[in-house]
Structure formats: C-alpha cells, structure tokens
Symmetry: C2
Subunit: 204 residues, 2 copies
Amino acid sequence: MDKMFSFDEIMQLPSRYRANLINMVSGFKAANLIGTKSKNGRTNLAVFNSVVHIGANPPYLGFILRPTTVERHTYENLKETGVYTINQITTAIHKQAHRTSAKYDRAISEFDAVGLTEFYQNDFHAPFVAESHIKIGLSFQEEHLVKCNNTRLIIGKIEHLILPEKAILEDGDVNLEDLDTAAVAGLYNYYSPEHLGKYGYVKP
Amino acid sequence: MDKMFSFDEIMQLPSRYRANLINMVSGFKAANLIGTKSKNGRTNLAVFNSVVHIGANPPYLGFILRPTTVERHTYENLKETGVYTINQITTAIHKQAHRTSAKYDRAISEFDAVGLTEFYQNDFHAPFVAESHIKIGLSFQEEHLVKCNNTRLIIGKIEHLILPEKAILEDGDVNLEDLDTAAVAGLYNYYSPEHLGKYGYVKP
C-alpha cells in the first residue's frame, strides 16, 4: 500500500519526522569526513553525506554545506586557507566518524574528541584522516549560494589523491569493498554495500 | 602500499582510466532514474548518480547535470515543462536502469527501450517509474552553472512523494533495505547495501 505526500502534506509533518523522511528518500549517499585547519592551527573534522562528483577532467568534487554552526568551522577554515580534505569513512571508523556531527566548541578538535588521527602530506595545510583508505586533498575552486534555502555548493579541485595501490583495478576503477567503504542514508544510518555487478559503457 | 597522485599526475592519466578513478573516489552514490516528458508528449528516462539532499523544510533535492547529449533531453524537458521525477533504482531493475545511459535517439523513449513502465499521478505532467518503490515528483526551482566545467546544479521542490507505507518507520526514517534500494559507485558498479547501524543525534 503506497503512501502519497503532497508538498503541503510534507510541510505539515512534525519537523524531525520530515527531516528524517526527506533525508532518506534520495537513497544511499557517500560517507566522508571533511578535514580543515584554521590559519592559527586549529583542526576541524566533520561528517558529510553530500559529496558529489563534478568532473574528472580536470578532477573536481563538490559538496553541499548547510548553514549550521558545526559546518561553519569547515567553511571558515576552507575559505581562510583555500584547502580541505575529503576522507572516506570505512566500516571500521563509521561510529567515530558519526560522532563528529556533535556540536563541539571551536577550541576542540574532532580528531581528538572522537579518536581519529591527523595525517599530513608534504606541505598541504589541511589534515587528512590517517584511518581513511581514500584521502583526497582539494583546493577551493568556486561556490554557489542556493537561493531557496541558503545552503552552498562548494567545489574543489583535487590536488592530492591517496589510496591503496592494490585496490585500483586495471581500468582505473577502485574496489570499494576491499577498502571497507561505508555508505550512509538519511541522517543516522550506515551501510556496508555488497557488489551486484559491473555493466560497462552501454550502446543503444 | 599507498599510491599518491598529484593534480598533474591525474591530468596525465589516460582519459578513460582517469574518468573511472575520479568517479570512484567519492564513494557510494544514490542510484536514481530521472523521468521527463516534452510538451509534445515524448518521454525520457535517464540514470543519475548525483542526486543530493538540499533541504527538508521546505523539501528540496538537487542533481548535477553534465553537458552531454543524453542528459540534455532531461534538461530540455524539465525546463520546457517545469517538472520531472526522481525514481529509486531497486536491485530488481538496476540492469534496465543502467541501460538508459545509452545514447538513444530523441524519438525513442527509454521506458520502451529498456522495458520500464510509465506511471502518472493525477495531472502531474512528468512520468514516474512504476517499478520504483520510491517515486518523487519535483518542480524546477533554480539552477547554477558551475563555471569550472559547465556542469549544472539543478534544484527542484518536492511536489509529490510516493512510497510504501510499511517502509516508513515511526520517526520518519525509511527502511531502504526492505525497499530493495540499490547504490552505485563509479560509472558502472551497482551495490546492495547492508545495514550496519543507526546512531541518532549526537551530543559532545
């Protein structure tokens, strides 16, 4: 039996119920940690489920930033320094990763608070997560303010990409299961995906 | 043993290898079909792995549109009529869904070409996918042209949301496994996620 909600019916739902429902219906999402460091050396780490592929040539990734307190540390640091990292959440660290969503004081680094390890690559200013098998260092490229609700699309250029050599297949694909990559759905639910198949480029 | 790529090294990779690699490293993605219909009644259906949550109150979803031929049918139809649908890809239909990525002629409806069924809700102009357990009807809200590579962020407002009543939990969360929802990674790989856990709102 299907349940149908119109826009008006969605708007009349209790706030928390609506947030859970609408965050779920787009499906599974990438589970990543975004790492930044202020000019004066304070590190920040925050869980994001909105990283999206923008382009491969040149390599760009985007993510959606909500106008909230926690994420503002990420935004301020990346605007101040021009760099940030995107780090894959594994099944092994997904509980710690989720705990970065708590609203810690600016003086507290989520690395310390949840027990994850900073890792630095050469002179790149932003901290990577040592426990993540895929680590991406980006430079801020452009941003778009979404008028309807003041979220922002933030786009960065990939400056550094670090991942285990053995997980890279001959065609450039990456075996995410071997890397223990987690997925997320809604605001609170984590998953371990099983491979169904690979289907290649399709012609009519 | 980690492999490290700098921006310059990524740019020197063979084109197909780079596309596969960069599409993989952001992690698992939502697997959805976007349905549209031109003013003169031609339906179009295309697989998208870039649907992203924009907001719940009011309910908005976004997706990234690449500047390609196939996806231009989707763009033209949604700009012409103001409406489109986002339909969950299930494990049962993931092979058919993937085949909509082939470059069919404009006169051919991907619904017919891959064997999926159009479904209409009241007088909403755009076609839903009958086989999808989660069906979302949206009205076009705003778009942003990404300057660095001419992709677009398209944002729509949820006008209709249709899903099985039994999959909606008491708090508004949706049991995606019961709905057989698939995930995608890279350009060609489909997955069936297993639930790891639900962790709730976190306080420091």
